[in-house]
């Protein structure tokens, strides 16, 4: 009984520490590693530079599970609040980050556009991209 309980606790701890994806930029990009705060501001279109480099955030489609995890773990904002945030930004003349339909197209975009930052599932990470943050 005690052993089962301990195993359950270990399993829960491991599950809670599970990573869903990574925020990446191109391997050749000059973007320095942003803080979590900077990353959040980049995807909320408040910050457009990291150091001297202009950054361009790329989102997955609204229906994507990975986007949901990204919003929960990096932006730490729920969908309703995010929705009202973007409506307020529309009045300020600010649009949300552009979207790509699949993780592979996000990766391709990042590879080809200087300063692009996006998020990918762990299995798509290879030498073409540089990991900035895990979530």
């Amino acid at each position: 009984m005690k052993r089962t309980f301990i195993l359950c606790i270990i399993l829960l701890v491991q599950l809670s520490a599970a990573k869903y994806g990574v925020v990446v930029t191109s391997h050749t990009s000059k973007v320095s590693t942003p803080t979590l705060r900077q990353l959040k501001d980049i995807f909320l279109m408040k910050r457009h530079y990291v150091g001297d480099t202009k950054v361009l955030p790329i989102n997955m489609l609204l229906s994507s599970d990975l986007r949901q995890k990204f919003e929960q773990n990096v932006l730490k904002v729920n969908r309703d609040k995010l929705n009202s945030y973007w409506i307020k930004q529309h009045f300020q003349g600010i649009s949300p980050p552009m979207t790509q339909a699949s993780s592979r197209s996000v990766k391709l975009f990042i590879k080809n556009v200087e300063g692009a930052i996006g998020y990918l599932p762990l299995e798509l990470v290879d030498d073409d991209v540089r990991v900035l943050y895990e979530f």
């Binding site: 001297d52 361009l56 730490k76 309703d80 009202s84 409506i87 307020k88 529309h90 009045f91």
Partner: protein
């Protein structure tokens, strides 16, 4: 007539847009997104019973290059109003230039906005339209203490070494682009605003600066603001102090305005709001305490139906207000 032509044009565009979400505008191209808003309100007080089609506005914006973007907004307000007590009607079908600027993103710490823009002070002034507010009315602070708009240059960005501290250094040394459409006419206006966004739930900041009014009164102002959100409850407060003196520096007068507003969401759609505000003007000897209690219904965020009752220390000013507004 012009209004209906514009509405027809917009709804035709919406109908043809591939994917449209209310409150986000229509993206025709990376260089052009079009949207707008309108509001209608109804007021009953001891002195009037008035219906208005108030703000009718169209806005367009987009990115011209990676660094350069623009925004244009034209507005007519009040587009139409009728007082049922004395039978008078008023129209303003002229669309004024409310905002017209270019934004140049140069770096993390220095970006430039040139043209007519909303003065970057506080919270209320930055989200002044009915649909984004939680009450139909505006606090007196939003119209009496500093010019709402700036026709000039704003340099803004993050302060070096601070992740969350932003600044706006703004200046104007000319007339407003549309001087008939501003709360305080002036030809000289500058100031500095600082804002610390500790988190999306807690922010505070302040501003100070100076402007010279059309009648040559020099006014120095200081302002503080803070807001805090705790699950369903949000609290927002702002205070501002004006110290004015005329050209000869003999006639002096101070003004103070402040408000604190609490907003409690029962759900995404339903909310209650309460606000207390105080305004004092030494020069005109006006002093007023105002209490507001209201209800807000948003079937979806960009559609707002609101009702409120206002208690004033001068009972003649007590009123009931209700409004309907949409951002599209």
């Amino acid at each position: 007539m012009r209004f209906f032509i514009i509405l027809t044009f917009i709804f035709t565009m919406l109908a043809n847009a591939g994917h449209y979400e209310l409150g986000r505008g229509v993206k025709l191209d990376e260089k052009l997104r079009i949207g707008g808003y309108f509001s209608a309100d109804y007021e009953v007080s001891n002195t009037r019973r008035r219906a208005r089609l108030d703000d009718v506005a169209i806005l367009a914006y987009g990115n011209l290059t990676n660094e350069l973007s623009y925004l244009v907004e034209v507005e007519a307000a009040p587009y139409y109003q009728r007082d049922f007590r004395d039978g008078t009607q008023k129209y303003d079908r002229h669309f004024h230039r409310e905002r017209l600027y270019l934004d140049y993103q140069y770096s993390e710490i220095a970006n430039f906005r040139l043209g007519k823009q909303i003065t970057p002070i506080g919270y209320w002034n930055l989200e002044p339209i009915n649909v984004l507010r939680e009450t139909s009315s505006n606090p007196m602070l939003s119209s009496k203490m500093f010019p709402k708009f700036l026709t000039g240059l704003d340099i803004y960005g993050y302060l070096p070494w601070f992740d969350s501290l932003t600044y706006h250094l703004f200046m104007q040394n000319n007339r407003d682009i549309d001087a008939d459409y501003i709360n305080i006419k002036n030809e000289h206006f500058f100031g500095l605003s600082l804002e610390n966004e500790v988190s999306m739930d807690f922010q505070y900041g302040g501003s100070f600066g100076e402007f010279i009014t059309e009648d040559r009164k020099r006014v120095r102002f200081a302002q503080l603001n803070a807001k805090y959100e705790l699950s369903n409850l949000s609290i927002q407060a702002e205070v501002a102090l004006d110290h004015g003196e005329d050209h000869s520096a003999r006639v002096k007068g101070d003004k103070f305005a402040g408000y604190m507003q609490g907003h409690y969401r029962l759900s995404n759609e339903h909310a209650f709001v309460g606000r207390y505000e105080y305004f004092n003007d030494d020069a005109t000897d006006v002093s007023n305490h105002i209490g507001i209690f209201g209800y807000s219904y948003r079937p979806m965020y960009p559609v707002s139906l609101k009702a409120e009752y206002q208690w004033n220390s001068d009972e003649q000013l007590n009123k009931f207000l209700t409004s309907f507004s949409v951002l599209f």
